[in-house]
């Protein structure tokens, strides 16, 4: 089965539309959304409705820190730009949409896979997987062979052997990577709605569960339209520029 992994959508309708169309063309049969449906972008209601629609048809969706902030208010550690967007986003979501975000679980499992927004060891603390140390910690905190998470916006792939040796890898878009059964894997597809690695193209990944191959993808979309909407909504200018430059 082809499972599309989409994370950090951040209310970017143009990016999400392009990614969903690409995934469909690639033969996606199921979707897993790894959190942060809102925040930063100008189309929170549209993106939340899209995710809700897929969840109604069996998709997986876990909670992200931005989703939580919109429901219960931002944490003191949240950056000012994000806080401003949280307030704005809350005003643009209806009760059903807010209820959906409130009801998203912290993590979900399916077969060999764990889906979680930030990490497996303390999902509600929102620690970032910044490198091997956190990746190893997260891989030790679950008995599943494959962990898929977001929160970090750059695509990355970590692996851990039975003897405790870990490695990390920056994926090349479009190249299928066989995930060897001799080790455990943690994959970060990269952000759909707000890429930060210098490439403005939206990220997502496709996992073929039958062959255990993972393919990272980059999808070009109309960044200028998305940025124009951010500006028109009166959201911080830096957020518009970030979409255009991818970082």
């Amino acid at each position: 089965m082809k499972l599309a992994l989409v994370t950090d959508l951040h209310a970017n309708r143009e990016a999400v539309s392009a990614v969903m169309a690409h995934a469909q063309a690639q033969g996606a049969q199921r979707y897993a959304f790894l959190g942060d449906y809102v925040g930063y972008g100008a189309d929170p209601a549209w993106v939340v409705d899209l995710v809700r629609g897929h969840v109604a048809h069996g998709a997986i969706a876990v909670r992200g820190n931005h989703d939580e902030a919109v429901v219960i208010g931002p944490r003191p550690t949240m950056v000012p730009d994000a806080c401003q967007v949280v307030e704005w986003t809350r005003e643009h979501l209806n009760a059903e949409q807010l209820d959906f975000l409130a009801a998203c679980p912290m993590s979900a499992t399916n077969g060999d896979c764990l889906f979680v927004h930030a990490n497996a060891y303390a999902p509600a603390e929102w620690d970032y997987i910044q490198g091997r140390t956190e990746a190893i910690r997260s891989l030790h905190a679950t008995d599943r062979r494959f962990t898929f998470c977001g929160h970090v916006h750059d695509p990355a792939l970590f692996h851990l052997t039975a003897t405790g040796k870990a490695g990390n890898f920056t994926p090349t878009p479009g190249v299928p990577i066989p995930l060897s059964p001799q080790r455990r894997w943690l994959a970060i597809p990269g952000s759909t709605g707000q890429p930060r690695d210098g490439n403005p193209a939206a990220c997502y990944a496709m996992f073929d569960t039958a062959s255990a191959t993972l393919t990272f993808h980059r999808v070009a979309y109309d960044v200028d339209a998305a940025a124009a909407k951010v500006r028109a909504a009166g959201l911080p200018e830096a957020l518009a520029r970030r979409l255009i430059h991818g970082g």
Partner: protein
């Protein structure tokens, strides 16, 4: 019918056993790392002969074998072409680990090593074939990193099916290999350099695992051995022993084998350069030199008769202590940066404006591709049947005449190549070569040359006058349509039509 092996029994394998639909017929090899079985697929009538490679696990925890096998299972399915065995199926360690692949009918290179020194012509042929296979691998984003006699097979000239099999080299065993676009599962695993002692490149000794020029070093070690019957760096087993190759140069092959041609010593010693930037920059460029020995520029290496003195070795030893090899290479990146360009120049037929236009296009390409080599090619059209007059009216050879014209055409190109790279070293002097082909079919000869020499980009002119083109057919159109590589067709701008009177 044999029973299927129990799913959780990776025990000893027996002839007649069936593993995942493959019947084990005969064990053909028992090595320290793996055994090989001749197998056939149950119910398949595909005539492709198959072999199953089964890793030998020593004890419960054997990371070297397990990870090497994981790497091979990851990389082999990503490879294509005649220079690797075709991957058929794989099974992992949770059940029975194996790889089923195409069985190569020919022999490995090992018996020729046992016979070394071997005839020079054979060494040259092996060098060209292995370099060609390596280029094909590097273009597929993979550095082999364990090039050695037992990992090189040769297809027979005629296959079991009676069809031509080409006789080309096939690379096997990708357990230490590195793919540009796949995770390096070995990189973090071991604290010792990975490779086979005699063949490991200096940068491999220093833990660099992404440079395709490492494979050229290993090829140089093999060729040295085939020529001289000796290993250039012995067979060290300690890291200290391995590091000696960073500062101790080998005895020049001609001191051990006086009939080794100077150009072959030049190529072998260039492969064995400690600094990867002093070796050939791509396997295709090395293969090119094996195919055109008379165009190899001879440097001090070709005449070298002794090893370096102790003072120089000491100096190198000091500098090797502190150096880290430059990282950042990749198999396909390095190969792409070092292309072979071909200028197909109709020096006797085309008009001067077109020849100038081809020249300036070639100059621009050389300027933007400092790692490129250029082959300037002219074709001397011969008759399909009967004798050709090889001498023209003045009695001088047509072939030589054409070569002279070709070199005259190339003079500004050579100057551009020289200015593009300020300090013209000996290697840069060999950057441009000249070839006159004799053939009845001009486009056919150009296409054949491009294929055999791994040309990446052909530049040629197109006749602009309609009448001639209609009468003769367009050479450039045929080349552009049928070439395996990029083709730039140069035209001179048409002159404005004359005003009607």
């Amino acid at each position: 019918m044999e029973a299927e092996a129990p799913a959780n029994r990776p025990g000893p394998l027996e002839p007649g056993q069936v593993v995942d639909g493959f019947v084990l017929e005969e064990r053909t090899h028992q090595g320290g790392m793996a055994q090989l079985w001749r197998v056939s697929k149950v119910g398949s009538d595909d005539p492709l002969p198959l072999v199953m490679k089964v890793p030998r696990i020593k004890g419960g925890d054997d990371p070297a074998t397990i990870v090497g096998f994981e790497v091979e299972q990851m990389i082999m399915p990503a490879l294509n072409g005649v220079h690797v065995p075709r991957f058929i199926a794989g099974g992992d360690f949770t059940r029975q680990p194996y790889i089923v692949m195409e069985r190569i009918e020919g022999e490995s290179l090992t018996p020729r090593f046992e016979a070394a020194p071997i005839p020079i012509d054979e060494v040259v042929e092996i060098g060209a074939k292995v370099a060609t296979a390596l280029h094909d691998l590097h273009r597929q984003h993979v550095v082999h990193l364990d090039v050695k006699p037992s990992n090189i097979m040769f297809r027979p000239l005629i296959g079991v099916d009676g069809k031509a099999a080409g006789g080309g080299a096939v690379l096997v065993d990708f357990g230490l290999s590195r793919h540009d676009h796949l995770p390096d599962l070995l990189g973090e695993e071991f604290v010792l350099p990975m490779g086979t002692g005699p063949y490991m490149s200096p940068e491999q000794v220093q833990f660099v695992r992404n440079d395709p020029r490492s494979d050229l070093f290993a090829l140089g070690v093999m060729l040295y051995h085939l020529v001289t019957g000796q290993r250039p760096f012995g067979a060290p087993t300690s890291v200290r022993g391995l590091r000696q190759r960073l500062y101790r140069d080998p005895l020049p092959p001609r001191t051990l084998r006086p009939d080794c041609p100077a150009w072959l010593q030049e190529l072998i010693l260039r492969c064995l350069e400690v600094q990867h930037e002093r070796r050939h920059q791509s396997a295709a460029q090395l293969a090119f030199d094996f195919q055109h020995p008379n165009q190899v520029v001879l440097t001090e290496r070709a005449q070298r008769a002794t090893r370096s003195g102790s003072l120089q070795v000491m100096r190198r030893w000091f500098s090797a202590m502190g150096t880290e090899p430059a990282a950042g290479a990749s198999a396909s990146g390095q190969t792409t940066r070092s292309p072979i360009l071909m200028a197909a120049v109709d020096v006797s037929g085309a008009d001067a404006r077109l020849l100038d236009a081809v020249s300036s296009t070639v100059q621009r390409l050389l300027h933007t591709e400092p790692g490129a080599r250029l082959a300037c090619v002219a074709v001397m059209k011969t008759n399909r049947v009967g004798m050709d007059e090889l001498l023209d009216g003045d009695g001088s050879s047509k072939h030589v005449n054409l070569l002279v014209q070709l070199k005259r055409w190339a003079r500004p190109v050579l100057q551009a190549a020289g200015t593009a790279t300020a300090a013209a070293s000996d290697e840069q002097a060999g950057r441009v070569t000249f070839h006159v082909l004799e053939a009845p079919d001009v486009p056919g000869a150009l296409l054949d040359y491009a294929r055999k020499n791994h040309v990446d980009h052909i530049v040629m002119g197109a006749r602009s006058s309609g009448g001639l083109r209609r009468y003769l057919g367009s050479v450039s159109a045929k080349v552009a349509a049928e070439a395996d590589c990029s083709v730039t067709v140069v035209r001179t701008p048409a002159l404005a039509p004359e005003r009607e009177r």
